[in-house]
Point group: C2
DNA sequence: ATGTCTTTGTGAACGCGTGCACAAAGATGG
DNA sequence: CCATCTTTGTGCACGCGTTCACAAAGACAT
């Protein structure tokens, strides 16, 4: 998994644990798949298997939302889809801006899974004047000079940062000042934001490093790294079960 | 953050907690930045601030690696960079294959932050015959028919899946059968893998949904959703502190 | 050498998340 | 209406992760 919670005092919002919130989208995806197959009800056991979690955990998660199941039967798929969607705030439209239209930004802009989840790419913003006006994914790129106006005109509260690390904090500050209160950060930097602003971070490099750690453990051990030979301070390394909407990865062209 | 741990029995590898492992790359990035500014030593307080964590947590994390600090002074930057790199297995070369060269796969292939961390894109693989031979990021795309041979010839143990969800499990199975034991999955699907194989998942859609949840909490509450009016089952919704290498987000062209 | 001052390393307490195991609830059949 | 069977909802215990707070360790000055 490529996630990491940033700047979140583990504040349990109205009794729903953060860990549960993080799993709701997972359940929702599995449920939507069932819904498309016109499955009327599902047991916690089946749904848990589809979502890849423990069934007891799933039931406990749902218990935070209320008692939506029927004992002896299971959960009504359609009803549960609605309840989770509502809880996640997906029944409303969320305009989103993407800042930094490089390779990644463009890939994000092309992602088709936004709309089906209530997210709408309201604008693409880049600092490069040469990009301005050029359409990406059918949306013309706008220059970052107009960032504040774009945010306000569209009532945007969620921003995606896909700029180089050096620009991320500055972009973040402007987004926040303009009214954005939730940020998804792809830049490899720790963003500092005022209280009340949520930041979530996606960092491929970190994910790979975590995999490498475990990989080393699996492969190694017998390789017996010379633990004794500690280097001096100068010895630095030179260093098919298809989702409903999401038939594509998070970032995929149509 | 766009991460989610998948299929990991919280097995504490040789005493290093999983949560600590997930933070090591963060420390490493901060340390590398200090190293580039030729800062010789750093205190836990300073480093923690740079990495965006609590200083006590950082010290405890480091304590799992050993006693690398000097009381009254702090940590030797270069030495710590080396120790963490070694612990994460970044002192060796990790050949990686990317399967699914769509928008995202291409963006990943162009990511420059791989090499500086010991990761090397050994091959790009796609199922589309039209893609075969076409260079992406200077690397010719190979057809998925040759997947097994590519894995084995290059000694690849880490695979990145950037295919549509429908193909992900099948690709995963083939990767695993060919010898891959760590997978970074960008497809919105729960992958099932045998024991001994690590899977980490990156899902943009989930991250946005989590943000939407908190956003709704912040904006809402007074919006007073009509909780009483429960819909029938049919009422479904229609639905600049620059990192060293990582001057770019995880996925950015050179 | 002695004292002071800074910073590490960690013992201990606390809180969250997980999973077990079971009682309560309801469906279903006779 | 009663018995049986399935599945939920949850009380409880356990373990991991976080944080506090402080003793131990060393640098540095005198």
């Amino acid at each position: 998994m490529a996630t990491g919670r940033t700047h979140r005092p583990a504040t349990r919002s109205r009794g729903i644990p953060e860990a549960t919130v993080a799993r709701l989208p997972l359940y929702l995806r599995a449920l939507t798949a069932l819904s498309e197959r016109s499955v009327p009800t599902v047991s916690s056991e089946e749904l848990a298997a589809a979502a890849g979690v423990n069934s007891a955990k799933l039931r406990k998660d749902f218990s935070y939302l209320g008692s939506y199941g029927t004992r002896g039967v299971g959960y009504d798929v359609e009803y549960l889809v609605y309840q989770i969607s509502r809880e996640l705030g997906l029944t409303q439209d969320w305009p989103v801006v993407i800042v930094g239209i490089g390779n990644l930004g463009a890939a994000l802009a092309n992602y088709g899974g936004f709309a089906s989840r209530g997210f709408r790419v309201a604008a693409l913003i880049d600092a490069d004047p040469a990009m301005a006006g050029k359409p990406v994914a059918g949306i013309p790129v706008q220059h970052s000079d107009d960032l504040e106006k774009i945010i306000q005109d569209n009532g945007v509260s969620i921003g995606v940062i896909a700029t180089p690390a050096g620009a991320a904090q500055q972009v973040c500050d402007r987004l926040v000042a303009a009214g954005v209160t939730s940020i998804l950060n792809f830049a490899p930097t720790v963003l500092s934001v005022p209280d009340g602003v949520d930041v979530r971070k996606v960092d491929l490099s970190i994910e790979l490093q975590i995999l490498a750690f475990h990989e080393q453990r699996k492969a190694g051990e017998e390789a017996a790294s010379g633990d004794g030979a500690l280097p001096t301070a100068a010895a630095r390394s030179e260093s098919a079960d298809q989702g409903p909407d999401g038939d594509m990865p998070a970032v995929m062209p149509a």
